[in-house]
Symmetry: C2
Subunit: 259 residues, 2 copies
DNA sequence: CAGATTCATTGACTGGGATCAAATTTCACC
DNA sequence: GGTGAAATTTGATCCCAGTCAATGAATCTG
């Protein structure tokens, strides 16, 4: 049995898990839904073959027909620039909804790529909308998830607009830590499924800067890093580094602060 | 009749305009709705007293109960940092929906401030959700508007993550130009309702940098600026400056590009 | 398992934009 | 219409993070 077959077995096992039995249900679309409603949701969800690392879930310009719930693994979203660059706009962990950006013009404006072997549930959007019209709880939860997307983007904007390199990386680590914790994983030790390049891109920093910061933070004893594995050694100190600062002596105006 | 009274007369006149007679209907919630549906929407919308420059529509932490449609004037949204700074996350023009960010936790995480005398329609969210459940077209339009918000934020992220100061300002001007044009105003001459400080904050630049860039662009003849009034003299050249670049000689990898 | 390719780290150097400072203009409010 | 506060502009200087370069570690491929 080679690697490929292994994946299949694991994934088929996962595919059988219905919403009502899914450990992610409390983070996902069915939050607060009744048993009956969950079964109706179950009925429209398609289980998909898992993606392998680097495979696209969809690309910029693809026609929009479904949103996707990450079941295991992780996904990055990227928007392309006019010139061939791209900006990573987010990383998506299990229980999170991917593809919401596309509703506006029925076309994906950002691409989604698996960062590791990743399985998810596909939810055809027209059917989801129709069901949401009948099930107020589902509609509400959809709105909350979309709104959370906006909230995340605003935090991200704040990061790029107002924080320096160190604050960005530390904030990134703390945020990841919180998200892992919510999902029942350790808050102080986790694996980064994305490359240094992805992190730098997401944070608006050069790869070299990310690497230097990891080294420096490790030297200071705040964290320890071994390849993709990160441990937060002094979460409190990290929280300080992330932005809580001694008050400015004279905060009468914008002066003395970053734009 | 002083300035104050003038405002009142104008606003009262505006207040009478129902959705079915509103010139913004094609940009706003009622897009594609039937006459009957528009009347139902009309029934739940509250007209509000216009805000004056600097007044808050809502503040960070306020309880969420309504979303708002800008009718005339303009609004900025800001998220606060831990330390007392803030990041401007967007400017909202007539026909745009404000307050969508708050659905997630039933509380506004960003504040909204009028940049000039601004009138809008208030739409109580529970009633909007309930109506959307009955009117598929309205539900769809709501989703599109929320999705557009995400799309805008992604463009903004791309701006802060990948563009230099000049590209940011020029892109900002072009985007504004397009939005004014959609609303039936001139695409080449418009008034900036926000301060240089707001622009800098939005673009992740210092006020001084924004000012210098305006001066430089004017010196190059691309634009002319007089206080708040901007004219785009050479839209084509601006589009070049915004990002369309001669191709890199050897784009084999990420090297030679910004992170 | 060897070679190739991508990814990560480290060092040296540079420059774009922030910061500091100050003059000038604009605007809001009596 | 005058006055004080706020906004804008301009100049001088500095520094953080980007760029370039090179080496080393990890991972893919046949």
């Amino acid at each position: 049995m080679d690697r490929n077959d292994m994946d299949k077995v694991v994934s088929l096992k996962r595919l059988k898990v219905a919403c009502r039995a899914c450990s992610l249900a409390q983070l996902c679309l069915p939050v607060g839904a009744s048993r009956d409603d969950i079964e109706r949701l179950d009925a429209i969800i398609k289980r998909r073959r898992p993606l392998r690392r680097g495979e696209h879930l969809y690309r910029t310009g693809d026609r929009f027909h479904s949103v996707y719930l990450v079941r295991s693994g992780s996904i990055k979203s990227c928007v392309p620039t006019d010139r061939g660059q791209e900006q990573v706009t987010g990383f998506h962990l299990p229980g999170e909804l991917v593809g919401l950006d596309a509703i506006h013009v029925e076309e994906h404006h950002c691409g989604a790529v698996a960062l590791e072997t990743t399985s998810m549930c596909e939810v055809p959007f027209p059917q989801l909308e129709s069901l949401a019209g009948q099930v107020p709880g589902l509609q509400r939860q959809m709105h909350r998830l979309m709104s959370r997307e906006v909230l995340r983007d605003h935090e991200h904007l704040l990061m790029l607009g107002k924080r320096n390199a160190e604050e960005r990386l530390v904030t990134f680590l703390i945020t990841l830590s919180n998200r892992f914790h919510e999902r029942g994983y350790s808050a102080v030790e986790f694996r980064l499924s994305m490359s240094r390049g992805d992190i730098g891109n997401y944070l608006g920093l050069a790869v070299e800067t990310v690497s230097r910061l990891f080294t420096r933070l490790q030297g200071q004893g705040c964290i320890s890093v071994d390849r993709k594995l990160v441990q937060l050694r002094e979460p409190e100190r990290l929280r300080m580094l992330a932005g809580v600062r001694p008050l400015e002596p004279d905060p009468r105006s914008y002066h003395g602060q970053r734009s």
